[in-house]
């Protein structure tokens, strides 16, 4: 079904006999502005290498714009470089740099408004306010772009790939660095984000809100100011992503806030202050993930219910699970915990005594953060041991009844 528009476009292309316009310095058509004016539907523009300082350009016909040998569109830190509004438009292999900043408008290097069936491929965006800004569009593909920002404060820096009120988007194999949010989704449905690399952004690597039925696979989010935030959404599928080195007082591998009916599987969480932080989330299945070297692997607030954590590996985390109450409506099963000290008499690979992933000290430190001073002390390990034998402070029901003896092979 997805290919039908493409096939139709191709048929149309054959019928009308499209032309190719070659634009560049020293050619009959020397500016991109001229080329865009000349181009009719289904035409292609091949933009030759060079630096083009042409202010703001608008594309509204169904054309293909291809950069040969990396032409550069320079916004001179004043203009929004390219505004796209139409259907069946492709923009390939162009470098955008120095787009302008405006406190009133969200200036972007490439802005897509009211579009359908657009492909942005292998472009490079350098030093933009917003790099790619998409609103009210359907079937947008953003693939293989390289986006590098120069981060200032949160107010002065825009998002790398920003989508608002769109559907059917495919965001693939992009690299985003140094923006406010690497990838930002708001009211975006039925979209796929895969194989992207979002690093060193000053706020979130990925930020999405009110975006249902989306799928995130094989992305890497590393060393972002606050990790990844996923809020107010339903039916989100997150698979095989890597969340790494998100450190800070409010940095999370993933922050899940009011997320329901979702599935988080086969991801890896490495060296985050908190791997997954959950708030007001329900009916999420979290399985086959790896949590390594995190401060807290998981923090589940008491406002979460019906979530199930199974077949995950928890290794070398300072704390496995933290919570803020004694009410537990979530289920833990068949996980591997490296801190588990039980035994397995019948050799079925499942420990015979349940594991309490919430240690007494993690409860204490939640109540009184200054007690961090006593972390790893003999006193604290004694208290933890005593608490394991007779739970009083820690939630009794937060247990893994079938802890694994051996690590899952993930």
């Amino acid at each position: 079904m997805k290919h039908i528009p493409t096939i139709l476009a191709l048929l149309l292309f054959l019928q009308t006999g499209a032309t190719t316009i070659i634009a560049g310095p020293g050619r009959p058509v020397s500016t991109l502005r001229k080329a865009i004016e000349l181009a009719r539907d289904n035409d292609s523009i091949r933009l030759q290498a060079g630096i083009y300082k042409e202010g703001s350009l608008t594309i509204s016909r169904s054309i293909t714009l291809i950069g040969d040998n990396n032409p550069v569109l320079d916004g001179e830190s004043k203009y929004e470089i390219l505004l796209v509004s139409g259907k069946n438009i492709r923009i390939i292999g162009i470098t955008f740099r120095n787009s302008g900043y405006s406190a009133m408008n969200d200036f972007a290097s490439i802005k897509l408004v009211d579009c359908s069936n657009i492909i942005l491929e292998r472009n490079t965006v350098w030093h933009a306010y917003f790099a790619i800004h998409v609103s009210n569009s359907i079937q947008v593909t953003i693939r293989g772009n390289k986006i590098t920002g120069i981060p200032a404060s949160e107010q002065l820096t825009g998002n790398g790939i920003h989508l608002w009120k769109s559907s059917g988007a495919l965001i693939e194999q992009n690299r985003v660095e140094g923006h406010r949010d690497g990838i930002y989704f708001e009211f975006v449905t039925g979209s796929v984000i895969r194989g992207n690399h979002s690093e060193k952004n000053i706020r979130y690597g990925l930020h999405f809100m009110f975006s249902n039925d989306d799928k995130y696979t094989n992305n890497t989010f590393r060393n972002n100011g606050a990790g990844v935030a996923v809020m107010y959404s339903k039916k989100v599928w997150m698979e095989q992503n890597h969340f790494e080195e998100n450190w800070g007082a409010s940095a999370y591998g993933i922050l899940l806030k009011d997320i329901t009916d979702s599935h988080i599987l086969k991801n890896s969480f490495y060296k985050n202050t908190v791997g997954i932080h959950m708030e007001g989330s329900s009916r999420i299945e979290i399985d086959q993930n790896q949590f390594r070297n995190n401060g807290w692997a998981i923090k589940v607030q008491a406002s979460c219910d019906d979530n199930i954590f199974h077949h995950n590996n928890f290794t070398s985390n300072s704390f496995d699970v933290g919570t803020n109450g004694t009410m537990v409506l979530n289920q833990f099963e068949n996980n591997y915990w490296d801190k588990y000290e039980g035994y397995d008499m019948n050799k079925d690979g499942i420990g015979d005594i349940p594991y309490h992933p919430v240690s007494m000290y993690s409860v204490i430190i939640e109540q009184n953060p200054t007690t961090l001073m006593l972390f790893r002390s003999f006193m604290v390990s004694l208290l933890d041991k005593a608490e394991k034998a007779i739970p009083s402070l820690t939630p009794e029901n937060l247990i893994d009844n079938k802890p694994m003896m051996k690590k899952h092979n993930l």
Binding site: W247, T273, Q367, P369, L372, S377
Partner: protein, 255 residues
């Protein structure tokens, strides 16, 4: 002084306890590194050895050694030697033997299996704690003439530093939880060498858990050059002050 230290060292080597201690440390460290699949977990177990066993052994061995060489010390006192030199060479010999044991027993496995920042922090803390608790033990031994009392005092001190102090800190932190106690905890940590060493290692080991204001404060303070200087300075004070007190007391003592 060196000559005297050498005799004491021979004496210590002859009774083989230090050799057994070295072997124990080596076996424990080695087997931990071999048993745990990741080095950081082995370091964590070693951390407990360093923070608990090391001070205990240093305290007990030093006090017992002092009482056992009491006659030797008396003999030396009859020679034309200054009291300061005698006690310092005793101290030096015990210190060197315990440090050697630690470096061979823990240092070699750590350098082999985990030669990273955490490993070096562990070695630094271990060495400092050995020196500090040897000098605390000297103070306890010199101050009390009675052997049982001296060893009892050393054990009590160990209990205090390893366990009771942390309990007190926990109590204080909860009693005053309404007040900003973050900076105060820095002071509290300086009052116990074991805590100071532990925090020093923790900053390398659990860096990702150090969130919130307290964590940030620790990271800023202990993570910087000032922090390293502070830790070393306080450790030095913990070693020097008890030693100085014991030297002073030894000089005035009526044997």
């Amino acid at each position: 002084m060196l000559k005297l230290s050498r005799y004491v060292l021979y004496d210590i080597l002859r009774n083989k306890i230090v050799i057994a201690y070295t072997l124990f440390l080596f076996l424990v460290s080695f087997s931990m590194f071999r048993m745990e699949e990741n080095g950081s977990k082995a370091l964590l177990s070693l951390l407990n050895i360093v923070l608990i066993v090391l001070p205990l052994v240093s305290l007990v061995f030093t006090t017992i050694h002092y009482y056992n060489s009491y006659e030797f010390i008396e003999l030396m006192l009859s020679q034309p030697l200054s009291r300061t030199r005698i006690i310092l060479s005793e101290y030096g010999a015990v210190c060197v033997s315990l440090l050697t044991a630690f470096w061979l027993g823990v240092g070699v496995p750590v350098l082999l299996f985990a030669p990273d920042a955490t490993g070096f922090a562990l070695l630094f803390t271990g060495s400092s704690l050995t020196v500090v608790f040897t000098s605390i033990a000297f103070l306890a031994a010199v101050r009390s003439k009675d052997k049982a009392r001296g060893i009892g005092l050393a054990l009590l001190l160990w209990f205090y530093f390893a366990l009771i102090y942390d309990g007190l800190v926990l109590m204080i932190l909860f009693a005053f939880s309404d007040y900003p106690m973050e900076k105060f905890t820095l002071l509290l940590s300086a009052l116990n060498p074991i805590d100071l060493g532990r925090i020093f290692i923790m900053l390398k080991m659990d860096i990702s858990a150090l969130m919130g204001y307290t964590g940030a404060l620790y990271k800023d303070f202990f993570g910087s050059g000032t922090g390293v200087a502070f830790t070393s300075g306080i450790m030095l004070l913990w070693a020097a002050v008890p030693l100085w007190l014991s030297v002073r007391s030894f000089r005035r003592k009526d044997m």
